[in-house]
Subunit: 453 residues, 2 copies
Amino acid sequence: MARTLRIDIDLSRSLRDDDTRALVRSLAEFDDVQLAGAIGNCSAADQDRVLMLLPAVRRSEVFGQLRPEVAGEILGRIAPEEGAALLEEQDADDAADILGELDPARLREILARFDPEDIEELNELLAYDEDSAGGIMSPHFVHIEPDGTIAELFEIIRALEDPPSQIFYSYVLDDDDRLLGIISLRALVLADPSLRVRQVMKRDVISVTPDADQELVADIASRYDLTAVPVVDAERRMLGVVTIDDIVDVLTEEATEDILKMAGAGEEIIDTQSFGSSFRARVPWLAAAAAGGVLVAAALSGFEGALQSVPVLALFMPVVAGMGGNVGTQSSTIVVRGLAVGYVERGRLASIVGREVGLGATLGLIYGIAIALAAPFVGGEVSDPLALGLVLTFGMIGSMTIAATVGASIPLLMDRLKIDPAVSTGPFVTTAVDILGLLFYFWLATVLLGVSP
Amino acid sequence: MARTLRIDIDLSRSLRDDDTRALVRSLAEFDDVQLAGAIGNCSAADQDRVLMLLPAVRRSEVFGQLRPEVAGEILGRIAPEEGAALLEEQDADDAADILGELDPARLREILARFDPEDIEELNELLAYDEDSAGGIMSPHFVHIEPDGTIAELFEIIRALEDPPSQIFYSYVLDDDDRLLGIISLRALVLADPSLRVRQVMKRDVISVTPDADQELVADIASRYDLTAVPVVDAERRMLGVVTIDDIVDVLTEEATEDILKMAGAGEEIIDTQSFGSSFRARVPWLAAAAAGGVLVAAALSGFEGALQSVPVLALFMPVVAGMGGNVGTQSSTIVVRGLAVGYVERGRLASIVGREVGLGATLGLIYGIAIALAAPFVGGEVSDPLALGLVLTFGMIGSMTIAATVGASIPLLMDRLKIDPAVSTGPFVTTAVDILGLLFYFWLATVLLGVSP
């Protein structure tokens, strides 16, 4: 009964040699979740092989635990009959997620093998955007009338032929399916069985419409500590529920998306093994950075004279630009994440930018002095060490102040313009900081060292 | 009954003028969660003012919805009696989180006003690391004996004097409090009331020990779709449960921590308004980057001759280092997040690094040619444009290949060494890339342009 949990299991050794019996034995050692994780990291041939070695019931359980992308790829390879059989065992919302990964031809082939009733339900779910409440909701929930008693409600739930796989609330609907209130399972169990549903139900219910962004649904569930959020149409007619297991997935997915966007590395860890998809995800971001880099070179070309007479200036370009880039990334990250988790109040833009600018200037002063003091030990020919020290100190202050200003402002501006602020960090901020910070540094050098640009 | 949800509400206008009546009216318009969010963004004086204007019952509800850091700061300011009163209305695990924010003197003052029975429970919770399962578990759960019937179990739950605020499972314990199995509330409601607990309970239960990292608990709950994870000691005696609302908080908190660590901006959004705490969180990271920057300058000082004879080389330093930095950040981000969400299999390090190196080289080739073609339009005196083009092309290939290798390897290495890989991105990767990439670029220049270093 006691369980040691190893989330990462490694099937590669068992797969490498051809001993099918040993493989079957090792498959039996792991639970469905462990196995699904391992399958996600296998090659296509091994994925199919492992799945086919599992007994039919376990096969559909493990299949249901796969990431939708992996499940979709498998469905693209196996026989449509087998695919339909695997899908019919899943919850409708999970089946719709997987079907959303297929190309239209394959989708039709598989749906053709489905029960006509299930097809209608799936088509309704597939019609919603996959990142919306409609796309992640389950159309199965316990619905009851307001006039029965709690004891009768128990009878209704017990008599359900196919009870939903997750029940957190019972939904009280009027004759037109409009949501009147909810009773949590906890309240149901604690309530006096002779009371009427109407007396026990909670009327002040938070709901969302099917077009609501999944991020908003997750945000609501997490702030209000809800285990399920009802989805209703404009007339407040009940369409489905988004349950906490899907909300947890959304939170992880959205955090990944933000992290990757901030690094300019695409939006999804589509498939860590595919060279092509990684390549395509990263090229556009780098194109922006490369164009920015050419701009930097063009901007600095006006200072070729200064570089020729004081080549030591070039040695400190990386630290001036790099420290600026670091401060800019810090500022933008704090603002972007603050906006995402709600710690940054949108009404106080000026004070946030002001604080970041102050931080940038203070940090610039400290590290500017530190680097100016280190400069004489770096080497290189310097005719006027004091003047170079001043260039470095004020150059760093300027670069880091500019960086903090740009880093904090761009995401706030994007948020105002309703663009996801996560895309604004990374390449954008560092390029802007490179150009402005280095121009300031070289301008300062021409003034303080008295060289012509 | 229909609710429009505005997560961001702005109290600043109502707070600015002194019309207390208008303020009280606007407080009544918002729900507890909205109000707690707005209070979190107020100044200290306004926080205390808003709380004290609320009726006592609502005050403790709103207080319970505050972030622990904000609640802790408020407790540091108000009278200890009032603080104890607010805390006694909270769940024990939430109260412990808030108490963990206080300095020892204040903690003693407030605990002295507590019920002796509650103190013992709180002291037990406070003894655990706040980031462990013990630190986030609730000691309140429904526990039952294996030999009763389901109908009797209902009676026991209904008779509870102070039922837990969240009930997802009933825990079946033996005479020594050892966990035998669980019954979900759903299974309880669906089960035939005449069956025995022993017949209905699920025996294969996943549990954690109190010292388990909260990240592991969240990972287990999210992979196994659990709404509560039991915490047991080494003898499998039941200590408490970690419920899904806390798990959702952990997921958000850990994502924030990873994002900030990756940007070298500390670990927590401690308080977006405090200059001092932001300053302290960022200084150490920048110190590493500054030391790296001085190293870069020292490493490049060997190439002063090349810079003097071909100053145009300096113009392209930002793009060579910057594109390397971008690719390095992309590689490390994908590996770090892949490790965190389990998409990167730890057994396949070589293939992951290999793919990243291949991507770096390919991207370097493409952008190297692009920048070499753009170079003649940038300006600057070039005696041998073809040779400069070759330096740029191969310099970019080298810099981006090095960057991808470093970016992908460092987090994998750290993971092997059991260090959180998130700390390895940001300043570390960019500094390493600056040094190695630029050294390669200048070495190439001395060879291809035939200048002395």
